[in-house]
Structures are given as structure tokens and as C-alpha cells.
């Protein structure tokens, strides 16, 4: 043992100590962190950790009313898929529908009732309790009702259908108010009007694309977002490649190629607003060629007199021989289908144009036949009178507000401040309303103006039902059930209304404790209206089965038979030249706003998945842009990323240029959806809102906003930005990436219709033959333990 002096000893001890400490810490850092296992005190029946539970419900992201199946694990919603038993979606779902989860789990949801603290629009709110807020609101309403001033209450909602609409109707009638309005930017009011004029009923028919062989679409982006995109998509796929040797031809007529135009076999650009004229040109040719032999042939001849090929060609910009070719092939290929909508319907001549499209269907005998236009029976339930408000109705409301006739405005899940043109002055009119109550889930631009915010559940937390419109040719009803416990201190819209009614002492008129009970009560009627099924002996069984399956249907179709329009209708057919706001000399370009695929009318802007979903045609994310034809861009000396001011008679916005190869030279197009000032972190401060520069132009017949009828001029600002987009070069360079087969290639016979991975039970009352139910059931055993009741 060598001699160690004191100093060395201490040094060595120090070294050893430091080493030991380091070793100890190293070992400590390698240990597992403590994790807890927290079981339910009393687990829900058939709940199993680690096993997914599927609940069937109804999608509320747009007005199509697709059935959905929501996968939940340990009480959290994980994935939304289409409900395979639902005849509209048949197991499929669009991008927006799947993003419903991000509405549910959105970080910017309102977490509890709020009372305005600062001035309006300053976003200063104090938290409140439901008890106080509801008590005060009910008190106010009751006072107004008993004083006979109930008419001063206006209720403005989004596109509400089903029994919630009936409940609101009932509530407003008890208040004594007539001011119940549904405002939905995308509501096809002109289509209803055109159908009423031509078919005699203000309903949407079922467009049987699946069995059609020729689809001639005038402006309707039916695959993108128009009416029922998922169902149309199913029809598109099946009409193309599911029938032996038959492949439908799709022709799309619109000034700017939409998703549907891109998928179509032929895209024809007609001058904006002249699609109806083109339809009549085609009709004229069909009549001339002897394609129509009805009794009222002479009336048709007279009505179509002014639509000779040359004049149509001149007005629409579509060559005369193209018109003739379209007419001949449309008349020849049976069954065919003419569809009108979108910008065609939302122009100054919208209703006339859509009537012309309906006329086309009639002339070739496509009405009431498989593969053509099929009338839907009346919806299974829901109010019959339409409360849908067009621009003129909203202007009336604004006028009432200014005149002091509106004392209280209740807004529920609609955003008119964003979705109405600034020129309509709706936002300013709100200032004249003493009390604004918002039942919104998110702090959107309209809610920002509210005095009282009573946050509502998302559709994934609430009870509801829906009778989809357009249906699928027969009556369908679907029940929407909560799939998760409510995240926050929010309530379902229906429950809020019922609660208000109870507090107002209207218990006798509203005997239902909550929305679920109201639905159960209402669905008794549905049960008794259907065909009796021995397997379903009583209502409770029926209800359980419907909630489990998510959908009920009655396959009785509307009576078919010959259709003939009234004589006066034929005489009245004719489409005038489109009228634009803004003179052509001063404002050289027609502005073509369109609903974007993911953001829809702006409601999807707070969903990060939708913000990051590349635009289907341009690949742009997170922004706004203005589309110019390459020729237009060259004339103006603009290239991608150059910022231009878009000036219309009604206002001005700035957006970067995107050179888009498939748009008419005289037209500029802009997507709707961005430009939010509020609406959460993902929505605000991205892009601009083209609705802001739209003139308050209406379609005269319906008062609907003619959003395609504004002209603009482009003023380069000299600024430049990099458009954020996904994708590089858009030319294939002959690399045969997307290969093309010629028309002679036979269709894929027996192409499969694939089952969903989920199926929580067969639909009640109907059979959806498209779904391979057997295969679906096999997977069900693992995935789905259907639970019919969730505590709300």
C-alpha cells in the first residue's frame, strides 16, 4: 500500500464521489417515467380498453347529409368513415367530412358561455354560467312573448334540417315570430325555384348518375361540393367503370374548370352566365333534329325560336358545331342527364338557366327514368316550408334591424358576416340590434358581434337527425348520436332551445326533457309511417336498431310515369343575357368565385387538415389566389405570385396571381373560404375573402345572391409573394406517368364495390345492395361493439 498524503486522499475521494454521482444520475435517467393506469370506477357496458367502438351518426359538415361511422377508443373519437349502410354515402366520405374530428377537437372552441364585456366586436368577453345566462335569456324572451313583441326575435341558423328544424319552427311560432331564417351560402335556392317552375314542386330531384350514360353538367361541380358530392362521386365511379362495356360520358360546361370539369371527358368553356343560353341552343337543335315528339312540340318550337346555333354560338362563345355535336350525342345516348347548378344557377339569369337545363332533360325523355332525373318522395320528416333565406331576405332582415323591428337576433352555426357581401351591409345592420345571442361552436365573425354566446356542441356530441336532401329516390332518415362525452361546458342547440322553452313556462308545448327524448317522440311517427316489419315489434326495438344502424329508409319510390310541363312553362322558357355588376369597359373581367374543395364556404377554414389539403386543382395551401388564363396573364404582364388588387364596383381586395391553364381568358376565378378575421388560429390571417368584393346582386326571381355576376378589374400592386403550394412542375414531359387508354378499351367489368371496414348493423328498412355486407360484418367482430346509448 503506497503512502497517500492527505491531499491526494481527498482528491481521490472527490474523484470517486463525482464518479459515483454521475453514475447514479445516469442510471436514474434511464428509468421509465411513472405512468398511471386509471380504470373506470364503473365501466360502461361492453366497454373494453384497447378495442375500438364504432358509433353511427350523420355528418353535418355540409348539407349533403352523409351517414358516418365514428371510431372511438377509450372514449375519444379517432376516425370518421362513411356509414356503409347509409344510402347516400355508402361507406364513403369526402375530405371535409372526415375533418369533422378537428371541429370536435379544435383548440379554438368556445369552452363555456360568454357575456360581452367590451364593445361589440372587440372580443372582450366574461365567462358566465349556463344557469344565469339561460335564466336571463328565457326571462327576456318570456317578457317579449307575453308583451306580444315576440316578433322582434329573429333566429338565424345555418342549413338546418330534420327534427331540429321542426323544433326551431315550433319554438319561433310559440314566440310569435316569423323571423326564422336559414342562411347557407351554398344553398341552391335557384334550383328549387327552377324545379318549382318546371316540375311544379320545390324539391331537389335525385340525379341518377350511377345509371346514366351521358352527363351534361352546366356549372354544377357535383363531385367537388355541389349538393351531395360523395354520392355523386359514387355515381361517377360506377357509371364509368362498373358496367360491362358501358362507360358514361361526362361533359362539363363552365368558364373555369372545376374538379368535376377536370374529371369529365370534355370541358367546354362558355361565357359566364350564358350556360342557360347554350342549354337552349342544344334544346333547339334537339327539337330541330326531331329528337322531341311531344304533343307540345309547337310550343317548344316557338319558345326556342331565338336560339339558333349561330346566335347561341355568338353569345356563349361555344362554336356552333360543338353545340350541334353536344345536342346530337346527348339526344342519342340514353339514358342521359343534364345537371345545372353552381355559377350557372347563381347568376342574374340563374333560374331561367336552370329551367332550360330541366327542359333539356324533358326533351330527351330523361325525367323519371333510371339514369335520369328521378323525383324524390317528400322527405321523411322535417318542416315542409323552406326557411332558406337568399340575399334579398337577408337584406330585409337588415332593413328590419335598421328600422328597430328586431330586438333580439339569435344566430346558430351560420356566419353571415363572412358569407354575405360587404355591399349588403349586414354587418353594419347588426349594430342596430339591441341583443345578439350566438349559439356557435366557434368564435366566428358573426359570434364576435354577439352580446351573449351560448356555445353549442359539435354534431359529434349531440343528438339529431336528418332527412338528406337530395335523397336517393326514396325516403331516408338518419339519426345522429353523440359519439363522445362533451369536451367542454357546451350544450346542444336543441337542448338549449328546449331549456329556454321550459324556463319560459312552455312545458306543455315542449314536454320533452331533452333533444334525445324529442327525437324519440318524433320518430314514433316515422316508425308508424314505414312498412311494418315482424322483426321489429315495438318502437323501442325500432329506435335501438335505427340508432345502432344510424339510418332508416323506406324504399318506396315516388310514382314515376309520364311527365309533361304545364303549357305556360314552355312558353316562358328563355334565358336572357347575363347582367353583371360593373360595366365591361371599366371592369373587363368577370369574377368567378367558387367554393373550394376543403374549405367549402369558409366553414372548413379552421380545420388544419383542410388548410393543409392541397387545392385539388392548383395544389395551393393556406392561402387565396386569383386564377388567370395564361393569355390574360401575359397581356397584363403578370406571373405567379404577383399581387394584384381585384377591384369591383363593390370593393377591392388583394391576392396573388396564379396562372391557371383551364379558365377562359375573360374570366378570373377565386376560391371562397379564406380571409377570416376570426374563427380561430388556423383560419384567421390566411388569404382574402372574395365574397367581400361581390356586388349585392340578386337573381331577381328568388332573391338569391347572384355571386357569379360581378365584374372586376385587376390592378397590379407591384408586390410579390410566394404562393405556398404542394407540387412542382405540372407537365408530364412524356414520361407516361398517367397513362391513357383509348375509347375502345372495355370498361372494367364487375369492378368491385368495396365494403367499408365498419358496419355497426344493417340499415333499417332498406337494403343497400352496393355494400358487400358479408365482408363488412367479418371485420365488425373485431372493431365494433355497438353501444346504443351514450350518456350526454
Amino acid at each position: 500500500m503506497p503512502n497517500i498524503d492527505r491531499r491526494s486522499f481527498l482528491t481521490l475521494v472527490g474523484a470517486g464521489g463525482v464518479g459515483a454521482g454521475a453514475g447514479f444520475m445516469l442510471s436514474e435517467s434511464r428509468k421509465h417515467p411513472v405512468e398511471h393506469l386509471v380504470p373506470y370506477p364503473v365501466p360502461p357496458e361492453e366497454f373494453s380498453p384497447g378495442i375500438a367502438t364504432w358509433y353511427n351518426s350523420v355528418c353535418s359538415m355540409c348539407s349533403a347529409g352523409c351517414g358516418i361511422s365514428v371510431r372511438t377508443r377509450e372514449g375519444r373519437a379517432k376516425k370518421i368513415e362513411g356509414n356503409p349502410a347509409h344510402p347516400v354515402s355508402q361507406g364513403r366520405l369526402c375530405a371535409l367530412g372526415q375533418s369533422g374530428l378537428q371541429a370536435l377537437y379544435n383548440p379554438d372552441r368556445i369552452t363555456g358561455p360568454l357575456v360581452r364585456a367590451g364593445r361589440r366586436g372587440e372580443l372582450e368577453f366574461d365567462p358566465a354560467t349556463w344557469e344565469e345566462s339561460l335564466a336571463e335569456l328565457a326571462n327576456q324572451l318570456e317578457l317579449m312573448r307575453t308583451a306580444g313583441r315576440g316578433g322582434g326575435v329573429a333566429l338565424l341558423t345555418g342549413g338546418v334540417r330534420g327534427h331540429l328544424a321542426s323544433l326551431l319552427e315550433l319554438f319561433m311560432s310559440w314566440l310569435g315570430s316569423d323571423q326564422l331564417l336559414h342562411y347557407d351560402f351554398n344553398h341552391p335556392a335557384t334550383l328549387y325555384a327552377a324545379n318549382e317552375r318546371f316540375f311544379g314542386e320545390s324539391e331537389l330531384p335525385y340525379y341518377d348518375i350511377e345509371n346514366s350514360r351521358y352527363v351534361l353538367s352546366f356549372g354544377a361541380d357535383f363531385i367537388g361540393h355541389w349538393l351531395s358530392p360523395v354520392h355523386h362521386g359514387l355515381g361517377f365511379g360506377r357509371s364509368r367503370q362498373a358496367r360491362d362495356g358501358i362507360r358514361a360520358r361526362f361533359v362539363q360546361i363552365e368558364p373555369r374548370m372545376s374538379l368535376t370539369g377536370a374529371a369529365a371527358d370534355e370541358w367546354i368553356a362558355a361565357n359566364p352566365g350564358t350556360e342557360g343560353i347554350l342549354a337552349l341552343g342544344i334544346a333547339r337543335r334537339i327539337v330541330d333534329q326531331g329528337g322531341y315528339q311531344g304533343a307540345d312540340l309547337d310550343a317548344w318550337r316557338a319558345a326556342l325560336d331565338g336560339y339558333a346555333a349561330e346566335s347561341v354560338a355568338e353569345q356563349t362563345g361555344v362554336a356552333a358545331d360543338t353545340v350541334a355535336r353536344l345536342a346530337d350525342s346527348f339526344a342519342e345516348t340514353q339514358p342521359g342527364l343534364a345537371i345545372g347548378g353552381g355559377a350557372t344557377g347563381n347568376h342574374s339569369n340563374g333560374v331561367d338557366a336552370l329551367v332550360a337545363v330541366n327542359a333539356l332533360n324533358h326533351l330527351v325523355g330523361n325525367i323519371g327514368v333510371e339514369g335520369g332525373v328521378i323525383f324524390n318522395p317528400p322527405p321523411a320528416f322535417g318542416p315542409t316550408a323552406s326557411r332558406q333565406a337568399g340575399l334579398s331576405r337577408m337584406l330585409e332582415l337588415a332593413e328590419d334591424a335598421r328600422a328597430g323591428r328586431i330586438e333580439m337576433l339569435i344566430v346558430s352555426n351560420t356566419n353571415p358576416v363572412f358569407n354575405l357581401p360587404e355591399a349588403a351591409g349586414f354587418a353594419e345592420a347588426l349594430a342596430d340590434i339591441p341583443q345578439i345571442v350566438s349559439l356557435s361552436t366557434f368564435l366566428d365573425e358573426t359570434t364576435a358581434q354577439a352580446d351573449l354566446v351560448l356555445p353549442s356542441h359539435t354534431y359529434l356530441e349531440s343528438w339529431g337527425d336528418d332527412a338528406p336532401s337530395p335523397g336517393v329516390g326514396f325516403r331516408v332518415g338518419a339519426v345522429s348520436q353523440p359519439v363522445v362525452e362533451p369536451l367542454y361546458d357546451t350544450r346542444a342547440t336543441g337542448d338549449i332551445v328546449l331549456e329556454l322553452a321550459h324556463r319560459m313556462g312552455l312545458d306543455l308545448a315542449f314536454p320533452w326533457p331533452n333533444m334525445e327524448e324529442y327525437l324519440k317522440y318524433s320518430w314514433r311517427e316515422v316508425w308508424s309511417s314505414g312498412t311494418p316489419d315482424p322483426a321489429i315489434p315495438d318502437f323501442d326495438t325500432f329506435w335501438t336498431s335505427v340508432v345502432r344502424a344510424g339510418v332508416w329508409g323506406d324504399e318506396t319510390r315516388a310514382p314515376g310515369g309520364e311527365f309533361a310541363p304545364d303549357a305556360g312553362v314552355v312558353d316562358g322558357i328563355g334565358v336572357g343575357a347575363p347582367e353583371f355588376a360593373g360595366a365591361e369597359g371599366e371592369f373587363p373581367y368577370a369574377l368567378h368565385p367558387y367554393l373550394s374543395n376543403g374549405l367549402h364556404d369558409g366553414r372548413g377554414a379552421n380545420l388544419p387538415w383542410m388548410q393543409e389539403l392541397p387545392d385539388a386543382l392548383t395544389g395551393v395551401v393556406y392561402g387565396s389566389w386569383i386564377e388567370l388564363n395564361p393569355v390574360t396573364a401575359e397581356e397584363l404582364g403578370l406571373s405567379e405570385g404577383d399581387v394584384v388588387a381585384i377591384e369591383s364596383p363593390a370593393g377591392s381586395i388583394e391576392a396573388p396571381v396564379l396562372v391557371y391553364p383551364a379558365i377562359m381568358p375573360g374570366v378570373v376565378a377565386m376560391p371562397i373560404g379564406q380571409g377570416h378575421e376570426q374563427y380561430g388560429r388556423y383560419a384567421h390571417e390566411h388569404g382574402v375573402n372574395p365574397i367581400d368584393v361581390l356586388a349585392a346582386q340578386t337573381e331577381p326571381g328568388t332573391g338569391a345572391l347572384a355571386w357569379a355576376a360581378t365584374r372586376v378589374r385587376l390592378v397590379p400592386t407591384g408586390g410579390r409573394v410566394d404562393l405556398v403550394k404542394v407540387g412542382g412542375d405540372s407537365r408530364e414531359l412524356g414520361r407516361e406517368i398517367v397513362q391513357i387508354a383509348d375509347a375502345g378499351t372495355p370498361a372494367a367489368a364487375g369492378a368491385p364495390t368495396v365494403a367499408s371496414a365498419t358496419d355497426a348493423g344493417a340499415a333499417v328498412g332498406i337494403d343497400v345492395p352496393a355494400v358487400g355486407a358479408e365482408a363488412a360484418m367479418a371485420n365488425t367482430r373485431l372493431n365494433s361493439i355497438p353501444i346504443t346509448v351514450v350518456n350526454t
Binding site: G727, G728, D729, S730, R731, E732, R735
Partner: protein, 449 residues
């Protein structure tokens, strides 16, 4: 004033070189401090930030997932080439002029390999798992993928690094002994350990000479293979314009080219700042200049072949890749490379140019800038333009990347500065061999054989 090479006495050699190790002026410390500071601030700080944030700190993106880190990696590997390889080649061909410069050249090899290895660490997404690329038995029962060119790379570079280290160390043993005998204090102890008990007996000299030649022969094919293998990282992919058979010779020639230019730079610096004017002379610059000229011509030829192959393929992907390289976003860089590496070196035809120190320094630096550009273009242009046009993109290096590039140069300098104070940066005994022996006018080498 300048002593002629022939006038130098053996004792002068010893004294000069030991002086370079022992006597350290403030200028050295200032330089070292600056180099260390830049290394810390420009290399380690951004790298730690990148470790924390992720590779996203660099400018890489979806189509161009490789960037300057990999370009730097190839650059440093390339720079490593002329040291040991050149030294070996010249050794077995008995080139006398090699002897004054080979030590520093070999040191360059060693340090650029180390920096290259660091670039790998910087490049990968999860460097904390880098050991998975080494074959060792483990409970996961997993081995590296021996089919991967990257795996070949790991092997080749490790081998080359080992070989080069042994080579430079072996050649330095007599010098360590010489320094050991002329120093005191901690230096003495260090050189005692480093010199491995060298006494300078005939047997020792004989064995050293034999082993040295043996290693030199062994290292030549190794060095050629190393850069061929590095080229396979690229050539074995099916990326248009990378998937070419010419890539291995292309990389080897490019490596020797940039390495030789690097030696010129280093020699200029040593000559100037370590007072080795009389050991490193115009002869060396002249010879290296000739070598550079030859290499530049070969390099130009390979570039022409590469362009021709792309054009002659008449394949959409190859053509686009070529077009993009020549006229696309990075075209200025391409033409800069051509100017620096193919056109400017033609000046070397003039002997006056070759024997002028400052112009040679400028040219050598220009060549290395050009060669760095070449490596960057190989990565950048090819990956930006691949098969699916919709996935094309543009890559621009971020500040972090540029900073790490600067920092890596500083790291190299730091290592080199430390080296010159530990290793005799000019070989004492081999320089003596080139001098007239005290007796009979023979060199010492001839005398001992």
C-alpha cells in the same frame, strides 16, 4: 538572406523543426483561439441547435432530402485524398520533392477524414443511434444492411482512416524520437510515449523503411476504392444523372484534384507562417502545378463525358436533369465550377505561374471552391429534378448549414493548428535524406542502404 536548400545543415533541420514545436508566438495563440471560437460558434452551436430542433434547421425539403452536409462530406473525403494517396504514390516512385511536404499532406488526410466523419454525424437525423450502422451483436438481433452502399462507405472510411493514421504515425516515429531528445518537461514525457522507444538503430530503420513501403502500397488501392465507394452512394441510386458508371472515376479524380489543390494551399500557409521557406520551395509548387494541370484536364474530360452521356441518352429524365444543371436555378453555380476547375487551371501551362506562390494559392483556393460547388451540384440539381415532375423542388441551404460549413473549415484549421504543435510538420529525417550528407556527399538514405 534566404538560405539555399543545399546549404542547410542537418543540425539546422533539427533546430528549425523543434523550434516550430516549442517556440510559440502570440500569433499562433491568436490564430488558434479564433479557429476554436469559430468552430464552437459556427459548428457546434448550430449543430446542437439542430440536434434539439431536428434536421429541419437545415434547408432540406421533400425532393431534396440531402443537402450541403452530404456535399461537405464528399468534399472533405475528397480533400483527404491527396494527402496519404499522393504521399504513397510519390514514396514508391521515390520522388525526392515529396519529402518536405508529405507530413502535412498526410495530416490533411487525417483531419479531413475526421471532419468528414463529423459531417456524417451532422447529416443524419438521429445521430444518437449512429452506432446501429456498426456491426456488433445485440439483443435486437439486428445487423447493419451489408447491401447498402452507405454501409460500404462506413467500412471504407473506417479502414482508410485507420490506414492513414497508422501511416502518418509510423512515418513520424523517428521524428518523435528526435524531438523527444531535444525537449524537456511535459513535452518530453509526451514524446517518450509517442516515440515508442525508438533508438535509431539500423534494424529499426530497416524495419521502418520496409513497413512504410508496404503500407504505402496497401493504401493506394484503398484510397482509390474509398472514393469509388463514396460515389456509389449516388451512382447506385436510380436518380437521373446520378445513376452513371463514370461516377467512380469521376469522384476519384475529383478527390485527388481537390486534395492536390488543398495541399498547395496548406503548403503555402506552412511556408509562410512556420518559416519553412527553405524546405518548401518553388520546386514543390512547380511539381504540384503540373499535377494539378493534368488532373484538371482529366476532370474536364469526365465532365464532358457526363454531359454527353446525359444528352445521348435522349431520356426525358436525364435530359431534364442535364438542362436543369446547365441552365436551371443552379446554373450560375455550374458555370462558376467550370470556370474555376476547368478554365482557370489552364494557366498552369505557364511555368512562371506555377512557380509564383500567391497566384498558386489563389488558384488552389478557387479550385477547391469549384470542387465544393461540384459536390453541391451533384446533390442539389439531381435530387431537385427526378422522375415525377410534380415532385420537383428547389433546395436552398439554410443559415445553419452555411454556418456549419464555415465551422467545419474552422474545425479543420483547429485540428491542423494543434497538429503542427505536436507533430513535426516537416519530416525531419526525410528532409535530411534530401540534403547532402556530411560525408561523401551522399544522402543519408543512400548512406544507410
Amino acid at each position: 538572406m534566404q538560405r539555399r536548400h543545399e546549404d542547410i545543415k542537418f543540425a539546422d533541420v533539427n533546430n528549425d523543426i523543434v523550434r516550430s514545436l516549442v517556440e510559440t508566438g502570440p500569433r499562433y495563440y491568436v490564430t488558434l483561439a479564433i479557429a476554436v471560437l469559430i468552430t464552437l460558434a459556427c459548428f457546434f452551436f448550430p449543430w446542437f441547435y439542430q440536434l434539439y430542433y431536428g434536421i429541419g434547421a437545415a434547408g432540406m425539403n421533400h425532393p431534396t432530402v440531402w443537402g450541403t452536409y452530404l456535399a461537405s462530406f464528399i468534399f472533405w473525403i475528397g480533400l483527404s485524398h491527396s494527402g496519404t494517396l499522393l504521399s504513397c504514390v510519390l514514396h514508391i516512385t521515390n520522388s525526392e520533392w515529396r519529402k518536405a511536404m508529405y507530413r502535412s499532406a498526410e495530416a490533411m488526410t487525417l483531419f479531413s477524414l475526421m471532419v468528414a466523419a463529423m459531417m456524417v454525424m451532422v447529416h443524419v437525423g438521429r445521430p444518437w443511434f449512429i452506432h446501429w450502422a456498426l456491426p456488433y451483436p445485440n439483443q435486437m438481433e439486428l445487423w447493419p444492411n451489408f447491401r447498402s452502399p452507405l454501409m460500404f462507405d462506413v467500412m471504407a472510411i473506417t479502414t482508410y482512416l485507420t490506414g492513414s493514421s497508422i501511416f502518418i504515425y509510423m512515418g513520424s516515429i523517428p521524428d518523435f524520437a528526435a524531438v523527444r531528445d531535444r525537449t524537456t518537461g511535459w513535452r518530453h514525457h509526451m514524446y517518450v510515449l509517442l516515440s515508442l522507444g525508438w533508438r535509431g538503430t539500423d534494424t529499426e530503420w530497416h524495419r521502418l523503411g520496409w513497413a512504410y513501403t508496404f503500407l504505402a502500397v496497401l493504401i493506394i488501392p484503398l484510397a482509390v476504392s474509398v472514393h469509388s465507394i463514396v460515389s456509389w452512394d449516388f451512382a447506385m441510386s436510380i436518380v437521373p444523372s446520378l445513376h452513371q458508371t463514370i461516377f467512380a472515376p469521376y469522384f476519384v479524380v475529383g478527390a485527388i484534384y481537390s486534395g492536390t489543390a488543398g495541399i498547395v494551399t496548406v503548403m503555402f500557409v506552412l511556408r509562410k507562417y512556420m518559416n519553412f521557406e527553405h524546405y518548401i520551395t518553388k520546386v514543390h509548387f512547380d511539381n504540384l502545378g503540373k499535377l494539378l494541370l493534368a488532373l484538371s484536364l482529366i476532370w474536364t474530360y469526365i465532365n464532358v463525358v457526363e454531359v454527353f452521356t446525359g444528352w445521348y441518352s435522349n431520356d426525358s429524365a436525364e435530359l431534364e436533369s442535364l438542362r436543369y444543371k446547365l441552365f436551371g436555378f443552379y446554373a450560375p453555380l455550374y458555370w462558376e465550377m467550370i470556370l474555376f476547375c476547368a478554365v482557370a487551371p489552364l494557366l498552369l501551362i505557364s511555368k512562371r505561374f506555377r512557380t509564383s506562390f500567391v497566384p498558386m494559392l489563389i488558384l488552389s483556393i478557387a479550385i477547391n471552391i469549384g470542387m465544393y460547388t461540384e459536390r453541391f451540384l451533384i446533390v442539389g440539381t439531381s435530387l431537385s429534378r427526378q422522375y415525377l415532375p410534380d415532385s420537383w423542388g428547389v433546395y436552398v441551404p439554410s443559415l445553419v448549414e452555411l454556418s456549419i460549413l464555415v465551422g467545419s473549415i474552422a474545425m479543420f484549421c483547429t485540428l491542423f493548428l494543434v497538429f503542427v504543435k505536436i507533430f513535426p510538420s516537416v519530416s525531419i529525417y526525410e528532409v535530411k535524406e534530401t540534403l547532402p550528407a556530411p560525408d561523401e556527399g551522399k544522402t543519408q538514405w543512400q548512406a544507410t542502404h
